[in-house]
Symmetry: C2
Subunit: 440 residues, 2 copies
Amino acid sequence: MANSKSGVKNQTALLAAGHWLILSVAINVGLLLKLIHDGNLRIDWYGQQNVQDNGGRHSSYAAERKPDGQIQNEYINLDHGDPTMYQSYWKQMGDRTDVVISGWQSVSYFSDTKTVCWFLEPGFANAVTRLHKLVGNAETGNRHIVVGTGSTQLFQAVLYALCPYDAPEPMSIVSAAPFYSSYPLITDCLKSGLYKWRGEVDDFNKEAPYIELVTSPNNPDGSIRGAVFNGSGQILVHDVAYYWPQYTPISSRADHDIMLFTLSKSTGHAGMRLGWALVKDEAIAKKMVKFVEISSIGVSKDSQVRAAKILDVISDSYEDSKASNESKRFFDYAQEEMAKRWSQLREVVNKGQAFSLPVLPAGECNFSHHTFATQPAFAWLKCEQVDDCESFLKTHKILTRGGVHFGSTKKYVRASLIGREEDYNEFIRRLSLINSGESP
Amino acid sequence: MANSKSGVKNQTALLAAGHWLILSVAINVGLLLKLIHDGNLRIDWYGQQNVQDNGGRHSSYAAERKPDGQIQNEYINLDHGDPTMYQSYWKQMGDRTDVVISGWQSVSYFSDTKTVCWFLEPGFANAVTRLHKLVGNAETGNRHIVVGTGSTQLFQAVLYALCPYDAPEPMSIVSAAPFYSSYPLITDCLKSGLYKWRGEVDDFNKEAPYIELVTSPNNPDGSIRGAVFNGSGQILVHDVAYYWPQYTPISSRADHDIMLFTLSKSTGHAGMRLGWALVKDEAIAKKMVKFVEISSIGVSKDSQVRAAKILDVISDSYEDSKASNESKRFFDYAQEEMAKRWSQLREVVNKGQAFSLPVLPAGECNFSHHTFATQPAFAWLKCEQVDDCESFLKTHKILTRGGVHFGSTKKYVRASLIGREEDYNEFIRRLSLINSGESP
């Protein structure tokens, strides 16, 4: 049975070829049905590809740039939170964060068999703990660190860990709108029998276990959040990807049972695909580790080694007075850059009637000792004069993500504010033109 | 609704604390039920942790080694296919495969927006194509490369891509036994409504679409395989992780619709977590990319950059006569090392009556021009005199993975042959003692 049966190979190949067609049609029908049924969930993370393919260009690629001035006729893509803003900072830092990795490294699957998370590099674990202690944004004592391929994988690991395998019904996953648009996509993509996306609903049994996702500061609107459903069956998962001093004043050490962080939004290294969870309960941490084991047998050691270096350089710059004199420190740079961008954005929005922005709370930051209002990675922009804000901005060659994807309405869009400076400046210029009634 | 409700915080905290307990119990009950129902599926990839915790040690860690001779009293772990055999080769190569990665690299999510797989580093794609052309083990023309966090993630991407979202029943996933033990675990871990593990069964509708996994050379037994179910609904997925010249003669360029490869078993860099798929059909490739996008928003760029370097150094050594004179070339080393290990293993097994091994086909390798029999990464060992081979070997402090996990019987175990030399030598010594009737 286990040997090749070459005698039937040709026949098999013919059948297989015919079958590819049937399958292809089946997939198309399936996708169409899915699109019709819940089109609001079927967005692309890499959403505007067709627009880019048809004469646009992707904002992430300096290499694809046309000569100065040409950007004025091109689409600018603010759909993704691609943190390319940070690249210029890291370039300024020269070779201080360079890492040399030798050919014999990353051979074994294992990093540290003495810890719950056996694929967690000890250097990365130490750097994470050190940075949290420095910044004061999260409690690390009596917690397990679980590393993941981005916080995206850790979100799935949390669902796997919290939802019993043999429950009669899938567990409800809820979150107040507007919620991160990827959460429903991730939750429902495999039609899991363990859990089901409910979003912002009120018609579920709050006495039975359910999972509430609390994102604070929130993606997309930057609000500072706590749990809102407050049933006795509540299990909270805190997505604190944006709880860093460039985005919001650090008011206290977050001390929740399960907290998810990511390098993409802290240092801006999205291409590393690295996230970490701080988890109080050992049994939960072990089940999360099991999920990462089953789904990817661990997490890139190379990225962990690099991330450890980068986090340590940041910590050094604050803790070592010699290192700190050499150049601007990371959070100082990032806080100032976000402040500048938000100041420009609010100014242009306030000059006209076309748009509005949320009012966000101000406070003193325990880390920087500055007082400022939350200045999120995204603008949650409301069109005051049109109903479909995403389509409206698209006619002005500004690509954003419409509010429907976040459980909100078409009046809103989410626009990334952490892209390259030239794209950001062009965004401001176009908003200004729209507000003044001119054609951009 | 979006703001923190501090007034109910304490009450919420109490309820939540109580709920953690309920949840913990629920998870335990669920796990127990699952273990009882289908215990043969609930193995740990990182299986023998408890044994190691209780006085054993993990074979992957040279740093944990006791003085020479101590290994004789310790557990040796051959449960995983941890490819630490390869580390000594890469150490011998010195700095030739070193990579320097700067702090400003891996900032964007995107690698190449012009290709279907937008998170695929062009350098890695080129290195993969170049190596396949050199070795002659896979057709790369008219194919899309999809990179994944190990071939494990790509396996899930394939299932997602091939199974229509709105089919009335989950698609059957089948494979002839013995099959790779992780496949049932991955397939069923989230109780997906899209697909369901069936393994080696004959009671399914072969006219309706089903997916047959063809692993060749096969994990665990090294057999060279073709499809065996041959229904008209057949969709084939070829796992060719071991189709490299150190394990089996390369007889032709594999030319299947979907082929999965991994760095772990080709160059031995398991800690990079990097795999790639060669996919003929663009629609399938796009859906696989979509899965990787949803589940991890791409794949570590750092590992792709490192892997490109390592693959190119291997290709250089065969294509550049100057480079090839400097030291032993990779596949020459690995083929010889596997040949040596298999020769020792067959010799010790043939000396007694306790064990037997599969007979594997020999042939001329188009790459090395040597004639040799398949010499797999694992030994599929049969105990001829006891019923529970895994438990028997465990009493001799040899940790292996029992046949039941592979859809076979307890008479068999899978033992890794690609671990460190000292563990391998100790394995051979213990088998020899068992065969001679002595107590090891």
